[in-house]
Point group: D2
Chain length 342, copies 4
């Protein structure tokens, strides 16, 4: 059994981790911390877990996280970089679901996140946890930076194209739409039901924190700098990201075959038949990413559609997938839940 | 392995059966029929099942259902009574998710459902598949009438009260609210997104088909005729039923303890602590029923709150639970999915 | 022109008042206050008002509210009782959309609202602003206590029955469902989109602040104390209240005719034909209340269905209706907006 | 008074026309037709109109439409081209809300709409009813082709750019998201609440009927052929279109000023301050279009955000605006409804 700790379990990525790990045959949940809710039974906050999770939230200062094999940080940005180093020093493996270790350029990270980084050395040692890109280095990693939700959907949708060198890379466009749970479980006005319901809007057009993360990944795939316009939107659904990606063709190849071959052995990426339109609900509550490739009217603009559940493949599910890789389990262990439709 | 056939798999109870059975360790899906979609791959209609269900819809006339151990009817009312008798005669066990065998009084059934019953003799032999009430007779049943969604939520909410004899039974009130998936996957105007969304209404106040089914069950629990006012409402959520039940106290007992004791050994009924307010999402996509008992201002009116997922405990999940009982499996087999929250 | 001030215009009742008053031919918006947003243009907070409302939020201490003919308080409970007396003393008329002056029994108010009342004398002088009940006294009132949203829907639904003396009054039941905007525009976790969306729950079953307000009104209509069980529910729509009301018949009369006659001359109460099921969207964004009366299976339990838009007839619209009465305008002035459907 | 007929009033554009025209001071609704619902009172189908619309649906063969000053066709594609010519010959003016007269190239229309055109001569005489583009020709038109919903949002968002000649026109991208009411009030499975709710998807990527309409308009604005990739999406809200538009800069100008000047005298186009993110609800139930212009990170890709209510500015409201222009009324007559927020 893998002994597991969770730091910060009161948000959506936290409760989703609990849902997945409570059903994982090799996971032993040993501690979960929350400064604000110490002493409260987890299932009092989340009655959906009654009978399946018996833990209480513990004060972070008192929890014996160092006895865990792996600790997940499901905390706001800026916490893991403070607390992870001590655990790492004690030999614990760490998976950070926040952004602290995702951007290799520390100065750029500090610019986008508006704080000074507390442990730049661990940034250099962290592995970016996108299994379809970095499976082998994840296996031996002590610290995994779990990708953001938009970055997962966008990178999986563009990876085959960039690796192939068949598209122009100077003016990529990612028009992405997210369900509201992506904004977290914070009490903020703009994500109230009566604000975000029956409403649609773009946000962060001037610059969203996932932009440098995506650009870093695309640059690596293309082996050269890429230009990217990234426009995120808030859409009135709870779970789901839909990325609509645009790229101009530079060299003719069979793009459907390109995607099918690239992901042939991936268990969590499903390339749909040509002309398909993946729906977010086709992956709801599951760790799948589904992708379709279009070339409207046979022109020179490719349109790639990529959907994930932002809380699963875009957060907690991918974190468990990374844990399975790190601890030599079958990658699908505990992640066989079929999508919930309707 | 239990060899399984499904008649009519293109509706919501059908796809939910597929989701659950595809993950059931003892289930072998062998045939699924649909007159309209014969030849189509199930996963082409429901991409959420890609990679997990390889069946094609078969013409009902050609499918070898008689070779199955059990056949589920996920059909509109009036189909199972036509097609089940031949299978039953061949020794196949049948679980009907429609209403054909739920009402023991055939004349009353014909009045509410507006058709003549095709096999009244099988009505007499059918077992009403509410495990918490009829577990022992379900075990040996050849034909199980799976309860309706409202009847499941209402009966589980009132059962302890009626069995106790502590409440007045002449004027029970069940004010029930259902998600839109309860109306099925038929192309009808009133359940369009733009009609049912951002909207709330009662319907069928003059008389809903689930009324006689509920009344029959309550009468049996109370061992005397009961009076019931049942008002269903359509609420803009996909899955979920919330029943708010009102009964006047005739005899003082500890009602919280009554419920806790009645359901102490039930794995799919969870009695919440006093003063709780169960949410439909706390059971979303799971087979649980959660119940809370209130006595506002210490008066003589009890208020019981009961929530289920109409497609799981209110349909497909309860059907699988019945199958587990009929085939001597642990009742929870294949039904361990934790609720999806948020 | 009626010179109008609004105290506290950043919540939903505030912005709804602005929407209605900006279109009111006799209304001159002269000041709107907000402590937190002083200096901000109203249309910067609510772009829907761009080009129609040119005011800026003013500091309450600096706004010249005493120069207004009428001041609306769209504030949290407990503010109007502090600030209204000075305005009233200066001869300004006041309409309070909060609860400060609704309950005549000050001790009971203090018990339910958990604070000491600042001006009990004005409670005695205030008129409860339900025009269908108190039109004549509203006309001359200096201070109007605008009814709550649930109380409006429930009282209009039960008024004819209680005035008739034809129903039992000891055990009335009001099962009410509200859209999420009824909870206001406060940043609170439980009304986030990802919490309240695709979810249904009861709340406040042990006791909701609208209970004493409703009971006071019903008692007055029945001319004797009434017993009421009131269960509010949160439903995933933005606007709308649906009250399902249950009463036992004590004396036979024509209940459909009773309702039609009682409301024959009311412009904002629409009694639907027998067997109708009013939808919340049939009154969305309008000041109408629609009511249908049912007697299921000809039994002795009446079911009354009553729908309003909680922000209009349940708050801002009714406040404007009261203003029209107070200032001798046609009651419909500025309130002719047709419901928005779909 | 303008005597008005409506052909086909049972869909969403029909009921929205009724909502607007019932409040229009110069409109006299004289006839409304529906083959399927002849004899039914309009307010029985749409209770939101009770007390405001007293018409009954008439059989199209019997209604005296020739006595009207103007007839609106709110019918499926292919009806107006059959029925309008007789009315036009009788001197009646016609506004077609469907697509029959929008595309000037009849062969291309026939290819996209899959039928033979019944009156190509009237296509040549029809005026495309986008007031911001064709106000002067609309004034004298006998037949107005009311623009589609996507085409309205996209063309208003790109018009200043194309007229300026400052952007590359070969590879424009329009990533558009529509509420479900845009798909009409037809009983179809894919727009059921349980299918379209809590779900997001693209559709028609290979080619949507609004593509040639948009391309025709953009070509006219640019005075040269344009290349356009148009990807529509279905989003779980009832009303609203959000178009996210991408264009590469070819020549440096002040784009914010360009938009502000182009629309300075337009009463229904509102250019927001720089860095704004218009929300669909900021125009809900109103005839406004709101637009914001962005240039992320100062790069060479412009992002224009354009929102409308698809049933108002995208259909019925624009039709009334056209009627006002055709009959020399103030363009805003009957269209002053403020957006409904929340």
């Amino acid at each position: 059994m893998i002994k597991i700790g969770i730091v910060g379990g009161t948000g959506y990525t936290g409760v989703e981790l609990l849902r997945l790990l409570a059903q994982h045959p090799d996971a032993e949940l040993t501690a979960i911390t929350s400064r604000g809710e110490a002493g409260m039974a987890v299932s009092d906050m989340f009655p959906s877990l009654r009978g399946h999770v018996d833990l209480k939230f513990e004060d972070p200062a008192k929890a014996n996280l160092a006895a865990c094999d792996v600790v997940f940080f499901a905390t706001p940005n800026g916490i893991a970089m403070q607390q992870a180093p001590a655990l790492l020093a004690a030999g614990v493996r760490v998976i950070d679901l926040a952004a602290d270790f995702r951007i290799r350029d520390v100065a750029e990270w500090e610019r986008w996140y508006g704080m000074q980084h507390a442990c730049p050395d661990w940034v250099a040692k962290a592995v970016y946890g996108l299994p379809e890109l970095n499976r082998d280095t994840i296996r031996g990693a002590q610290l995994v930076a779990n990708p953001g939700c938009y970055p997962t959907a966008v990178q999986l949708g563009l990876m085959p194209l960039l690796e192939s060198g068949a598209v122009e890379t100077g003016h990529l466009i990612a028009d992405a739409k997210s369900g509201v749970s992506g904004a977290g479980r914070k009490a903020e006005t703009h994500i109230l039901f009566s604000e975000a319901g029956d409403n649609f809007k773009a946000y962060g057009v001037a610059g969203h924190r996932h932009l440098p993360e995506i650009r870093q990944g695309l640059t690596s795939m293309a082996s050269k700098p890429v230009g990217l316009t990234f426009v995120p939107h808030l859409t009135p659904l709870i779970r789901g990201i839909h990325a609509t990606l645009y790229a101009r063709i530079e060299r003719e190849i069979d793009f459907q075959a390109l995607f099918e071959e690239r992901y042939a052995s991936e268990c969590f990426v499903d390339v749909l038949p040509a002309k398909s339109h993946p729906e977010t609900r086709s992956v709801r509550a599951s760790n799948m990413c589904r992708i379709a490739v279009h070339r409207p009217q046979g022109g020179d603009t490719l349109v790639v559609l990529s959907v994930i559940d932002n809380l699963v493949k875009g957060a907690a599910g991918q974190a468990v997938q990374n844990m399975n890789i790190m601890f030599d389990r079958d990658e699908k262990t505990g992640l066989w839940q079929l999508p919930v439709l309707p």
